[in-house]
């Protein structure tokens, strides 16, 4: 039987999917959220602390004057959005290692209750971005979750528009969240609270994505090229991904090595020690496995393949040669984004500055002229190996306005005061963990030759009720963004970040 879907069949399935999801209920009620997803108009919160999200009033912009006194706006220089860590994933993939979650940190991200809904959340985020009226979108890395071909295909479909078919295999979903799975560690929407019967079927039904309709610039993240954001694909993992054996249960006796702890600077979406997952995987494969449907579209990609795919989406003005995704792109006439590829090709989720990158960056900084520069990377520079070298370059440049990154899944903004005028270090939450937000950035010129970044968060505007269910589950997740404070404080979200005029020495 052909796997192709006709238009009539697609529409039928899509309607059925939405109907089923609507039947599942989504806890809707009370005031409606802003259709634009702008948190200036409304946002989600839990004022009573009872675990239920409600629509709240929007959060106004707050001026932050650590680097410069507030000044009046005199004109918009650029508007763009930063959405990062979408982790579009194939929840049916046998190459996933969800059982590791029960070992606790740093493996808690190996399973998430809402993980079957990542494509829908990305679609919802794009809806909010479209309403923003941005000139372009920075896709901040970790667009994929497990370096799989079908993940990239689905993510590209969401961004480009068209029919998106989540999942894999003939059932599209065949994983640990099935009601028939007896493992109580996994949230099973058909039997566990909050119950959403039929959610898994609704999650893998094809849907029609509108597409971004804007230029977007990719940033390479660890999950885009590494298995679980950690491992370079090996023959073992490649065979697992497309094969018929899956590991769903914690193998007997598998424990964390003594002293194995998550570091404060580590990403929540992967363990810190390269090779640890591989070690677990090899040990686990010796234990019981589950038979799952084969699907060759789950093929794991090489870094080169991923970079080549993403490169076609970029519109660089200056690109390094080779397989690294370092480039610069202008947003309007006065703002330039310099994108750095810090993903480790040899494995490991942390950022790594490679040879040649400092020199390339120095060249880019030197060429900036009067443009304001925003340095974009997936991992925070300060937490990347040899990142200090890059920061010292930025510290000396009066044109650097901000650094922008993801990876930490956390909203955070901190000033970095320097003799050259300083810059803002901006981190944006992920689309997979609570609060599942993207960031809008509007660069405005201010009186006196200075500049300000008006930035606010964008809530995804769901595809039917699925997006809302995803946010609800992400919020409830006791290992997720809520208890870890990924939403950040008020000063990490909707703020105006002032910077004085650049003064060249």
């Amino acid at each position: 039987m052909s796997g192709r879907i006709g238009r009539r069949a697609f529409l039928g399935r899509a309607m059925a999917g939405m109907g089923a999801a609507a039947l599942a209920g989504c806890g809707a009620g009370g005031p409606l959220p802003a259709g634009s997803g702008s948190t200036l108009e409304s946002t989600w919160g839990d004022p009573t602390g009872d675990g239920r999200l409600r629509v709240l009033a929007g959060e106004p912009l707050i001026a932050r004057a650590e680097l410069s006194a507030p000044a009046a706006d005199v004109g918009v220089l650029a508007t763009f959005a930063h959405l990062t860590d979408a982790h579009v994933l194939d929840a049916s993939s046998p190459a996933r290692v969800p059982f590791l979650r029960r070992l606790g940190p740093p493996f808690t991200s190996t399973f998430r209750p809402q993980e079957s809904l990542t494509a829908q959340v990305l679609e919802g985020a794009l809806t909010a971005v479209r309403a923003l009226g941005a000139e372009l979108v920075v896709q901040g890395g970790d667009l994929l979750d497990n370096d799989q071909g079908n993940e990239l295909s689905q993510a590209r479909s969401v961004l480009a528009g068209g029919i998106v078919t989540p999942g894999s295999g003939p059932h599209r979903y065949y994983g640990v969240q099935l009601a028939s799975d007896p493992d109580p560690f996994y949230y099973r929407p058909d039997v566990d609270a909050p119950r959403h019967p039929g959610l898994l079927q609704a999650a893998v039904r094809p849907f029609l994505a509108r597409g971004l309709g804007l230029p977007w610039v990719p940033v390479l993240g660890d999950h885009d090229i590494l298995v679980a954001g950690e491992l370079v694909p090996t023959p073992v993992t490649r065979a697992l991904a497309v094969g018929d054996r899956a590991l769903w249960e914690l193998p007997p006796g598998l424990t964390l090595p003594p002293g194995f702890r998550l570091q404060a600077t580590s990403s929540p979406d992967g363990p810190p020690a390269p090779g640890s997952v591989h070690e677990f995987l090899i040990r686990a494969l010796a234990g019981p496995t589950v038979r799952v449907p084969v699907d060759l579209t789950r093929r794991q990609l090489t870094a080169g393949e991923v970079v080549a795919e993403l490169r076609t989406a970029a519109a660089p003005t200056s690109t390094r040669t080779g397989d690294r995704l370092d480039y610069a792109v202008d947003v309007g006439e006065r703002v330039r984004l310099i994108v750095l590829d810090l993903a480790r090709r040899g494995g490991g989720s942390g950022g790594l500055v490679v040879a040649g990158q400092p020199a390339w960056l120095a060249g880019q900084l030197a060429q900036a002229g009067g443009q304001w520069l925003i340095i974009v990377s997936h991992q925070p520079l300060a937490e990347s190996a040899a990142g200090g070298e890059l920061l010292s370059l930025l510290d000396r440049s009066p044109q650097v306005l901000a650094t922008l990154c993801g990876h930490t899944h956390r909203n955070r903004i901190a000033p970095r005061a320097t003799a050259a005028g300083g810059y803002w270090q901006i981190e944006t939450a992920s689309l997979i963990d609570y609060p599942q937000q993207a960031r809008a950035l509007r660069i405005v010129a201010t009186a006196g030759g200075g500049v300000a970044i008006r930035t606010w968060m964008l809530d995804h505007v769901g595809y039917g009720p699925l997006g809302r269910i995803s946010r609800e589950l992400a919020y409830l997740d006791a290992e997720g963004g809520r208890p870890q404070g990924f939403g950040g404080g008020r000063l990490d979200r909707n703020v105006v970040l002032y910077r004085r005029a650049a003064v060249r020495s």
Partner: protein
């Protein structure tokens, strides 16, 4: 004189004229009021006890037990859960040696509070709570009562030495001493201050209060998902705790509440009947007053006032006596259940009971008086019944037929006399029948209470013996006289497959396991297919199992069984971590699973005979040990309560019979007088009244037995099935006892009324 004052004067005059009758009516009302009072004390006190206890103690929404862990680690996990308002941690140390006031125990439970504070899941009844300093101990109320402890008493704790009792507490998360183990609370900071801080303080119990308890299920899902690294996890929700406590005593509480309601109905009927009977006696007087111009309303008010004047002191006395008789044992029971006594909260319900005891007789007198006063005066003067007489009714208290010396003698005559008033007969029989059924139920319950101490069948296990014989011997065992059923019972220890550390008692039978073990279903249905399981509620909560989900069992040999959950059952064994599965499913992976032959005895079978037969087969038979070893004190208290209720109910029966006999004599005064004038003495009256009593008691006994066995017993068994399998149908012994009791009550009533009637001059009866 105004009409109301005149009516009051008339009522007082009536009371003075009929003092003995008023006293008798007052006694009846007092008995009924006492019944009402008993019902209220038991029904309200026990029925609302758990709610009161949870409110007073601030019982947490969920209690999680696990193997000892570092307190900060547990705190971090809990803080990450959604909807958590607050939490408290403690270490539960078991088998602690304690001593005070000459008592000693080696199995006490010390609750070591990690951070003493206001919310710890118990209520301090007297004294003060624990602090961070001092050698203080907070003792559970049940233990304090049993040992006669006072505030400030020294309290010896093994390992800590002498402590000081600073308060008494009730924690409704478990039953109290002596139902449960002796329990007391300690402060970890205070212990650390005494002995030096521990390097790695551990806790094994967390109490969690939610902001919105409606989201408990969501919290439990997250708690399970984040429980990695914790072992032997057991969740107890507030409703689950209630079930656990109910399993200890709830069946009895619910039954007592139900019985109280029945008593309430009986008392109500009795009061109404009594009042109606009074009016019936005075039909002639009503006729006279109507003849001289008294209005219908005036007479009605006068009768109502007269009844009220009798009812006021009688109801007060009855409510007081009923309350005093039961409040103490009910309080003891509540203390055992760690539930506070209702105290002043009882005042409202008791006041309502008192009002009912006053108003029902008043209304019961007013209504028939109103109806009677509306009838033609001539008919009233002839003494017609309040209600319309049936075809068989006679007039003016005449003797049915032509002569008292008819076939069947005086006994038959008495029966026909009482049968002449069909409506009254029906009501009296109904009252007596209901009371008889009530007493039968009490007796059956008392019998089952005894079985709670010794009979495992009462708590879901229907087999009485196990025999160490191979499965193939089951057929031979079945042929032993006195054996109703026998089958291999396989029992192995399993574990969950997911490293939660849950041990699971896996029980398997080759056929229908409910023949041998039928723990009550909480949800779902009994297992049918070969790949299905029934799981205990404790296991279901721990593993998130519901009807339709999959149970994965890791067996000792490393194999795994996956079964569909058909139902969740309430089981006491192993904290409810039990799975009933078909033998075929178990024997696949474990063909040599250990087994014994479970033996269900036929009713009335001689256990020793069966034991001897099993021994001859080469088995080592073992009677199933008691399931409720801690039940003796509870049963004692319950027996006291049941005795109080039974005595009151017996008085109800006696009063109903006395009323019926007295009314018969009253109505048949001319006939009785003729009989006496003809030489009949007290013996003749006794025979006459015995016939009347027989006509009432015989059908009442039949109705009582049928009602108990067909309606009340099954209904209460159904009510109890959440806790235990209790066959509450009365047996032959109980039925015989009730029949004997009825006979005795009838004899007392007959003799009493006969002696009373014999004291009346014959001429007065003839002149009526």
């Amino acid at each position: 004189m105004s009409a109301p004052r005149s009516a009051l004067a008339l009522a007082l005059e009536g009371l003075r004229a009929r003092r003995r009758r008023a006293v008798l009516s007052g006694l009846g009302i007092a008995v009924a009021a006492a019944t009402l009072s008993v019902s209220v004390v038991i029904g309200y006190g026990l029925g609302t006890g758990f709610h009161r206890a949870t409110a007073a103690a601030g019982l947490p929404d969920v209690i999680v037990r696990f193997d000892p862990q570092a307190a900060p680690r547990v705190a971090a996990r809990i803080a990450a859960l959604p909807d958590v308002a607050r939490y408290a941690l403690r270490l539960e140390v078991t088998n602690v040696g304690i001593g005070a006031r000459g008592h000693q125990r080696g199995d006490a439970v010390a609750e070591v509070l990690d951070a003493p504070g206001t919310h710890q899941g118990y209520a301090v009844l007297s004294g003060h709570d624990l602090g961070d300093r001092g050698s203080d101990v907070l003792v559970e109320q049940g233990l304090a009562s049993a040992w006669g402890l006072a505030l400030g008493d020294p309290f010896y704790v093994d390992g800590l030495g002498p402590q000081r009792v600073v308060g008494f507490a009730e924690g409704p998360d478990d039953v109290g001493y002596p139902l449960g183990k002796p329990r007391f609370y300690l402060s970890r900071p205070a212990i650390d201050a005494q002995l030096g801080a521990q390097a790695d303080p551990r806790v094994d119990l967390a109490e969690i209060w939610l902001r919105n308890p409606a989201y408990l299920s969501e919290v439990l899902v997250q708690a399970r998902a984040t429980s990695f690294g914790l072992h032997d996890i057991r969740f107890a929700t507030r409703s689950g705790l209630r079930i656990l406590i109910d399993q200890a005593a709830g069946i009895v509480i619910d039954l007592l509440v139900a019985l109280s309601l029945i008593a309430l109905m009986t008392a109500g009927v009795m009061l109404a009947v009594s009042a109606r009977a009074e009016v019936q006696r005075r039909l002639g007087a009503i006729g006279v007053r109507r003849a001289v111009g008294a209005t219908r309303a005036y007479l009605t008010v006068a009768h109502a006032l007269e009844a009220t004047l009798v009812a006021l002191p009688a109801a007060s006395l009855g409510v007081l006596l009923g309350g005093l008789a039961t409040v103490a044992p009910a309080g003891r029971l509540e203390t055992m259940l760690n539930e506070p006594a209702p105290r002043w909260a009882l005042a409202g319900p008791l006041l309502l009971a008192w009002l009912a005891a006053v108003l029902i007789p008043s209304a019961g007198a007013a209504w028939p008086a109103w109806r009677a006063a509306g009838r033609p005066v001539a008919r009233l003067l002839r003494g017609a019944d309040v209600a319309s007489s049936g075809a068989g009714a006679t007039t003016r208290g005449g003797v049915p037929g032509s002569s008292p010396r008819l076939r069947g003698g005086l006994v038959a005559l008495g029966a026909r006399m009482v049968a002449a008033r069909r409506a009254r007969l029906a009501v009296t029989i109904a009252t007596l029948g209901l009371s008889a059924a009530f007493v039968l139920l009490l007796l059956a319950l008392a019998s089952e209470l005894s079985s709670l101490e010794t009979d495992p069948g009462a708590l879901g296990k229907r087999y009485a013996l196990t025999a160490a014989l191979p499965p193939s011997a089951a057929a031979r065992v079945r042929r032993i006289p006195g054996v109703l059923a026998a089958a291999p019972r396989y029992e192995v220890q399993g574990a969950d497959s997911f490293d939660l550390g849950e041990t699971i008692d896996v029980i398997a039978y080759p056929g229908d396991h409910t023949t041998f073990e039928a723990p009550a279903l909480v949800s779902g249905r009994r297992l049918r297919g070969g790949r299905e399981a029934e799981v205990g509620a404790g296991l279901a909560t721990a593993l998130g199992l519901t009807e339709g989900s999959t149970l994965a069992l890791a067996l000792a040999d490393g194999s795994e069984l996956r079964l569909r959950v058909a139902g969740v059952v309430s089981s006491l064994d192993d904290d409810g971590r039990v799975a009933y599965i078909p033998a075929s499913a178990l024997l696949g992976p474990e063909p040599a699973a250990p087994s014994a032959i479970a033996v269900v005895l036929a009713p009335g079978a001689d256990v020793s005979t069966v034991l001897a037969a099993l021994t001859r087969l080469g088995a080592a038979p073992t009677p199933v040990s008691t399931a409720v070893g801690r039940g003796v004190p509870l049963v004692d208290v319950l027996r006291t309560i049941l005795r109080a209720i039974a005595i009151v109910d017996g008085l109800v029966c006696l009063y109903a019979l006395v009323q019926a006999c007295a009314l018969t004599v009253q109505e048949r005064r001319p006939a009785v007088a003729v009989m006496r004038a003809g030489g009949g003495g007290v013996g003749a009256i006794v025979r006459l009244l015995a016939g009347a009593a027989l006509a009432i008691v015989t059908p009442a006994a039949v109705i009582g037995v049928l009602l108990e066995r067909g309606v009340l017993g099954p209904a209460l068994s159904h009510l109890a099935e959440s806790y235990a399998t209790l066959p509450l149908g009365a047996g032959p012994a109980e039925i015989l006892a009730v029949l004997a009791g009825l006979a005795l009550v009838a004899a007392v009533a007959v003799v009493s009324v006969a002696l009373d009637a014999a004291r009346e001059p014959v001429i007065r009866g003839l002149a009526t």
